[in-house]
Symmetry: C3
Subunit: 448 residues, 3 copies
């Protein structure tokens, strides 16, 4: 086998389904179990930072674990049962074990009146609180005059915040970043889709015979995990050239592209070329400091340009942060199409080099090198050359543009934009021209 | 009372009506009377330059005053009567007192055949001449075979060119300019509207507890007044950062915006933000060296970027430079809406500062400072936080953008453009963040 | 007679028709005869480089001459006859004199099935080969079971590659380039149209009393001729500021404009102003390294910005590289309209100067210099000034813009773009202002 192989849609969906029903939060057993499952695909290391550590303006919270939770009638019937869906409890709820009137319980109940079958996803990480999330229908079925047993069997104790990390070394001296968040429980698009794609991107890059760039890949709890990682890797993070936040990659919506805060960084240009060459117009989302951890990574001290390729990005779909974001909402085919777009963009970065012509004075005579058809003058240049299929015409276009533009001041991304030729064709042309001694690769410079 | 107050529409229109029927020209009693009326609202100083003074390529003309003028039949009936409308005499007409045939009179008569009820506005400042302006209907009623008494009781004598001036001092070391022209007689939109708005802008700025910038405000006769002022204040004028020429501010047309010659100067950007935040699309007029005194102020030796916010700008309306441009054409409401747009733009300049985060490494934890709702995860971030109205959501957006962008390289105008957040919201956010020690103001630099 | 005169449409077409039926190729008698005919209009010099010379990556081929060629039935009937149309033989065909079966002949036959009445144009310059081009109808009339006499009476011998050259000297120290190709046989638009227009442009420029810029004008065989010329004039070519490749100038299609590889070079801007002022929207073709010799001249070592104004540019018309591209397809009127556009663009370059105001502090008083109407205030500035036609209004606009912009940092092309005033009007204004001591010309700098 030569080179990396893509997973099948089924393989992607299978991993997603295994990760989906794990009860996760910022910290705790669920995160560890999630990362251990990911390790079956990607050789990440599971790391930890201790509770209570100060990370810039934030403090790593205590570790939260939960075993059970329910609202029950006084005769023992579970009206809301955490064991059926992990979203039923507000994340980081403190322990509760009480009998109380509905009126006292009600302020702790969260529903979505407009989506009466959906359980919302809610958290209270930084203020001690507790609560239940339930469907509007469940709420309406409750007896407003009754009393209920309310149990949350959770613990908040000193422990650790876990995350996954993998460093892949390339030769260019340039490092890119892939980050996803592994804290969201019981939702498929947000964000087991990101966890899964990052796992397979890790596998893909690891399987390449040689990496041009280095890649830093992390699975972190959102916000506090990203901030903790920045705080513990400040110099390395300042050296990053750019990267990707993998989030919401598998919904039924169109492929979307959220730009970096620069909008025209090499990362943006690589992604836009990938979309262009795939013939797909992305649903373009300009940068905003919302959404996910790009808002941390791009803060003034770091200013790492981070983008996101998504299918049904956060905020963009009706089931966002609800129990309806489940494995039926996310298909393997959707995951695969997004994965391919990430790989296309990364391969553009991998193959981005600077070439300089050795023949700057005129067009090289391609014909004498077997790179050009021998009968000239035909209307489409190749119409009468029986064996020249379209691909040969395209190849001569690519050769010609390469020889014209490759003067040592433009990299392959520049050339692909300027010439409107497919990136892959230009790479093929570059290889042929190097083989023929007409181009030489020159040292590229870190763009940052 | 705290802070400046806006005039009412009635107050604006009332001043306009008082100023309208004063016979003005470049010089003379009418200008002095006009400036004295303006002094009732604005504490300007009435200044003067002597006739005959050389100002660059120009010479200040003699002072022109006129007491009466008419064309009368030989039996004493006034066919054209200056006492009914000051526009009837060509500005700067030399004295005449003659009986003459219609044929000899005709070359001195100006009408508008396409607007048969309108008296045109005409002048002959720099060539000795005389003439009458009348309606086409008046002309047609005259007897082409008759002789007429023609009287212009005017004087052209050494005197002064008057203008109004007010300097308001701010603390930023940056100075902006407001200029209007006070020479046009008997027309409301062009330009008692500008004279009135400049008066109330002067009052508004004077009433502010503290001015950030300095403002130089002048009421000058058009062209020669502006040139005289430049010649006498050369160094100060070269130090100006930009400004506004107030002209034609009260017609029924849409709000128009004539850009500075740069088109993207801070002045332009402030005005465009004011329009944007007001939800108004301006009728955009690119700069041309026509119209009013921006053509002098922006000449090569000065290059002061000057813009104009107008309602029915010169050239843009049918009644331009005619007697139909009267106080019925200009309403108080129109004047007020233009005044507000000027104030909005000036307030954007006033509040334009550079802030730098004290927390550049990650988002500050807004929650622990009471700046963020405590239950996370809701779809629109605030959907389930009962007391959070839309304004709180907008405030968090503004806080987040401020913390993201305020790295000491962008001012508030930059940030408002980049974030697409309302300027006022960003200012509120900046104040809160400074109060919480998360931002500090740093010294801004004169952009010129 | 003062100044250069334009040819008539008939004069243009007449030269085209004389040149059309000459059998040309890269080298040989046909090129020499073509250049001698051109000499009747343009005083070019006929130059030569020897066969076998190495020019960069290429070698100048042997000289090819052909006297006769035909495919005949065995009873002597010419089925394909070179004497009827020079396109019938593949360019640079080696000599043949054989009797052969149709099956052996067929691989050497070229037709256009989609244009059954057209003979295609084919060449085989750099690989020894031979062939015939014929109409699809001719092919279908041949007997596939018959044997044919096949004769190509050609020679390939050491000789020379000829080209025409003319250097015209100006005073600015800046040199521009005009290049056309003179190798295409028996086609009118591609490219006797270019040969003819270059001849008359040479005549036009030679007839000017004084040239501001220098012009280097060449008629070269395509590709190898351009490369040979570059190789023999390397330093001079690197000093060129930009230029024009004249190709396909006389078809019935709309005027097209192929940009230089920069797209916004002075050359591009001059051409776009010429189109703008003529009120013609060009069919804009972005640069691609295809088509004609711009692909050589713009290679990295030279990077000469070269553009093309065309009517039915190569690739853009159905008859391209066929016998249907004949003198009926190209009219004298079409040639003249393209010639005029070239002249307009070149005249913009000729008159492009940098002026600096001597009166930077305010508008000069045009009135006292007789440059402005004496009655002010009229709606369109000149409505009541009986003798002021539209042209005077336009002239004052041009005067005003010139005085506003001519600060020594902008040339006339900059000013024409910025002001949107017709270039000619601005030139007239500049002359008047210089005469009045209000502007002075300052030394311009080579833009390259």
């Amino acid at each position: 086998m030569k080179g990396p192989i893509l997973p099948s849609a089924a393989e992607l969906h299978s991993l997603l389904k295994r990760l989906y029903p794990i009860t996760r939060s910022l910290t705790g057993d669920g995160v560890r179990e999630t990362l251990r499952v990911v390790q079956e695909v990607a050789d990440l290391e599971i790391q930890e930072y201790p509770s209570g550590a100060q990370v810039y303006d934030w403090q790593i919270p205590r570790e939260w674990n939960i075993r059970d939770a329910h609202i029950s009638t006084l005769d023992g019937q579970r009206v809301v049962d955490f064991r059926r869906n992990g979203l039923h409890v507000v994340g980081y709820s403190v322990p509760v074990c009480e009998e109380m009137a509905f009126a006292d319980l009600e302020p702790h109940l969260h529903t979505l009146p407009n989506l009466p079958d959906a359980i919302p996803y809610r958290t209270s990480y930084y203020r001690e609180n507790w609560g239940f999330c339930l469907t509007q229908k469940q709420l309406e079925a409750m007896d407003r005059n009754a009393r209920y047993h309310v149990v949350i069997d959770s613990t908040l104790e000193d422990g650790v915040l876990n995350f996954g990390e993998k460093l892949l070394r390339g030769t260019s001296g340039r490092e890119f970043f892939l980050s996803t968040y592994c804290c969201h429980p019981w939702m498929a698009n947000d964000n087991q889709s990101g966890v899964v794609l990052t796992a397979f991107l890790n596998r893909y890059l690891s399987q390449k015979e040689e990496l041009h760039h280095s890649y830093r890949i992390v699975w972190v709890p959102e916000t506090i995990g990203a901030i903790s990682y920045l705080a513990h890797n400040e110099l390395a993070m300042k050296n990053l050239e750019g990267g990707f936040v993998l989030s919401c990659c598998g919904g039924p919506g169109p492929l979307a592209y959220k730009e970096t805060f620069l909008g025209d960084h090499l990362i943006d240009r690589a992604v836009k070329l990938a979309f262009r060459d795939a013939g797909i117009e992305p649903w373009l989302r300009p940068f905003a400091p919302d959404g996910s951890d790009e808002r941390q990574y791009s803060m003034p001290a770091f200013r790492i340009p981070m983008c996101t390729i998504a299918k049904d990005k956060y905020y963009d779909y009706a089931y966002y942060h609800t129990s309806l974001d489940d494995p039926d909402f996310v298909t393997g085919e959707n995951l695969l199409s997004t994965l391919k777009m990430y790989i296309d963009a990364i391969e553009i970065l991998e193959r981005n080099r600077v070439f300089k012509t050795t023949m700057p004075y005129c067009e090289p005579q391609l014909g004498k090198r077997g790179l050009y058809p021998q009968i000239g003058g035909a209307h489409n240049q190749f119409g009468n050359v029986k064996k020249c299929a379209m691909s040969i015409e395209a190849e001569v276009d690519a050769l010609t543009w390469m020889m014209f533009l490759a003067d040592g001041t433009m990299d392959m991304v520049d050339i692909a934009e300027r010439s409107a030729q497919p990136y892959s064709n230009l790479c093929v042309a570059a290889v042929k021209l190097v083989e023929n001694g007409l181009l030489e690769e020159i040292q590229e410079v870190n763009a940052r």
